[in-house]
């Protein structure tokens, strides 16, 4: 047995044969030496590509809906682009083989899009590449990858947009990719199809090809190659349990989360992107308790513009409607690869310049984000919280900036709404000072993961410390009780947004302490509602 990890994008367990998706080997075509012949070959390939894409478009429209089919439509339009066709013709005239001309010209355009200062256009470079690779494949006589009959788990380095669409969705039990992000096409498709999947996994494609059985645990983000009997039994039990639970939990959909004595608990989702917000609504969430905004900052070369941030927040606000959305401001530090921020390497990033500390030090990062949130506030029910607060002055300083920015926007004639400002309680200092912070904050949301690591002085990235990382430690329980008590006394609400928020063993304990909001992965909401509704508290 061999095992590894990945970033889970949908929970559940899948077990089955692995199929490794490879763009098959191509024989490099040699130019006939006659540009006229090469141009004719290219023109014929464009026609073939057009036929393939229009068939794919029809298939996608029926199976995935108009919106996703538009990905294919864009490629059909690119196929007719005069600049692209001119570029290819010039390369052919210069002696290139049709296949190489198609590929290289596509790559040139892809790079232009990738270099643009616009996230949407950056993503279009994948479409240009996808289109030019299709022409290349046709010109190399490549018929494409043949998938076997029956059901399987699909393993790949990464999947291109058109590849995710043309896959036989009914046969796929899981995706496991080495690349991709939680907002990649693969992840979105996994969530649309409700199949457990991992992206950014450490799976080896050769090994996956040779293994007989592959299993994916989308709850824990683990993959297993040829699981031993014990593991297999564990996974099968988990799978059966998950299926039975899902069926039973469906009866809680659409119900109010209220205990038998009438305590109303707000069950919210943790999200990272507008796409996640849609999945959260589908999972019957009552709000968003934690919107991480890091995804807007990672995997790019420049700071996102205020407009880009605004669009993302506005979209989430609109998707959620009246339901509350708590946006956590940027929580990034030297541990993340964000070169354009120019952060110095630190000995100890967990205790370094991160969270609100960066924001208070570097106003050019913080201002656009706060302005974007304020501008988006009129589209829904937005709230904001600051990470890594340790002192009351930090909260006051950030609040003061919000007031200034709101006034600034009003003077510019831009409408804003009152945005409640809360604290993400994750440092022991903030927990101990909760009664003081409660005078300044509109709410508390406890980030249990960091609060645990800081309180116990245990690095949660260090696997060797697992037995010391005890999220139920009495010191933590005392802090959690103090936070809720301080909030209740000040008349503000307190919630949990760390991993403990979804822990069924803790749900009643939190209600007892006085927490009225729990935020978790969207897939866990019905499970939590069941516990709340059955509670006698």
């Amino acid at each position: 047995m061999k095992t590894g990890i990945g970033l889970p994008v949908f929970p559940g367990v899948s077990i089955g044969p692995a199929v490794v998706y490879r763009k098959s080997e191509r024989t490099l075509p040699v130019s006939s030496g006659d540009p006229a012949v090469e141009q004719a070959k290219f023109n014929a390939a464009v026609e073939t590509a057009r036929e393939q894409l229009s068939a794919l478009f029809e298939k996608a429209k029926i199976e995935l809906g108009e919106e996703k089919a538009a990905i294919v439509e864009v490629q059909m339009l690119m196929l007719d682009d005069l600049d692209y066709l001119d570029g290819v013709a010039m390369a052919i005239e210069g002696g290139a083989a049709a296949a190489i001309a198609a590929l290289d010209t596509g790559e040139e355009f892809a790079q232009v899009f990738a270099a643009m200062d616009d996230e949407y256009m950056n993503a279009r470079s994948a479409d240009v590449r996808d289109m030019s690779h299709r022409l290349y494949d046709i010109l190399c006589g490549n018929t494409g990858f043949q998938l076997p009959e029956g059901s399987f788990l699909l393993v790949a380095e990464d999947l291109a947009p058109s590849e995710t669409i043309q896959l036989p969705r009914e046969n796929i039990l899981a995706f496991v990719t080495r690349q991709g992000s939680s907002s990649s096409h693969t992840a979105i498709l996994a969530r649309t199809l409700n199949i457990p999947s991992l992206v950014q996994s450490n799976i080896d494609l050769e090994e996956a090809e040779n293994c007989k059985i592959l299993a994916v645990d989308g709850f824990t983000g683990t993959w297993y190659m040829d699981p031993d009997e014990e593991t297999m039994a564990m996974l099968k039990a988990k799978q059966a349990e998950a299926a039975a639970d899902r069926a039973a939990l469906e009866t809680y959909r659409g119900r109010e989360s209220i205990t038998k004595t009438g305590k109303k608990i707000l069950l919210c989702a943790n999200i990272g992107s507008p796409e996640d917000a849609e999945a959260a609504v589908a999972a019957d969430c009552e709000g968003v308790g934690l919107m991480r905004s890091e995804f807007l900052y990672l995997g790019r070369d420049t700071l996102p513009s205020e407009d880009e941030l605004f669009e993302a927040y506005k979209k989430v606000a609109q998707i959620m409607g009246d339901r509350p959305v708590v946006i956590r401001t940027l929580d990034i530090g030297a541990d993340k690869q964000v070169s354009y921020l120019g952060l110095e390497k630190e000995e100890n990033p967990a205790l370094g310049l991160r969270g609100l500390r960066i924001c208070l030090t570097r106003e050019e990062i913080f201002r656009p984000q706060l302005r974007a949130i304020l501008r988006a506030s009129v589209y829904g029910n937005l709230q904001v919280m600051f990470p890594m607060v340790a002192s009351v002055w930090e909260l006051k300083a950030a609040k003061a900036l919000c007031t200034v920015l709101r006034k600034e926007l009003e003077e510019e004639g831009i409408a804003t709404k009152e945005v409640p400002i809360g604290v993400m309680v994750e440092t022991p200092a903030a927990a101990v000072l909760a009664h003081e912070l409660a005078k300044e904050a509109a709410f508390f949301s406890v980030g249990t993961n960091d609060l645990t690591q800081y309180t116990l002085a245990v690095d949660r990235q260090n696997a060797k410390l697992d037995k010391f990382y005890d999220p139920y430690h009495p010191a933590l329980m005392a802090l959690l009780a103090h936070i809720a008590k301080s909030a209740n006394e000040a008349g503000i609400w307190a919630g949990i947004c760390g991993e403990l928020g979804a822990d069924p063993k803790m749900t009643e304990k939190f209600i007892e302490m006085g927490y009225t909001e729990l935020s978790m992965a969207a897939g866990r909401i019905l499970e939590a509602r069941k516990i709340v509704c059955e509670s006698e508290l």
Binding site: A70, D81, D307
Partner: protein
């Protein structure tokens, strides 16, 4: 030569789809059709050039039509943009 202005109303700006539709519409005329945005200028018959403008909601586009069928093209494209972008 005919010229008219259009302010982008689509919240996504000139993304691939409306750009593609504009190319298809523009291809139906003999006239040379140019789209000028604050970010640059592009031939309306060239998709990737239009996309490279990265024109956003609220930006003002100036469309210039020059050629034999310029009257008809300008009138029809103005209506097309009002309905689609």
């Amino acid at each position: 030569m005919k010229e008219f202005k259009h302010v982008i109303a689509d919240p996504l700006g000139m993304h691939a789809r409306p750009a593609g539709m504009l190319v298809k519409a523009a291809a139906g005329y003999a006239s040379k059709i140019t789209v000028a945005a604050p970010t640059g200028t592009a031939d309306a018959k060239r998709l990737m050039a239009l996309m490279r403008l990265a024109a956003k909601q609220g930006m003002e586009l100036t469309i210039t039509v020059e050629g034999a069928d310029e009257e008809k093209a300008a009138a029809e494209l103005q209506a097309f943009l009002a309905a689609n972008l």
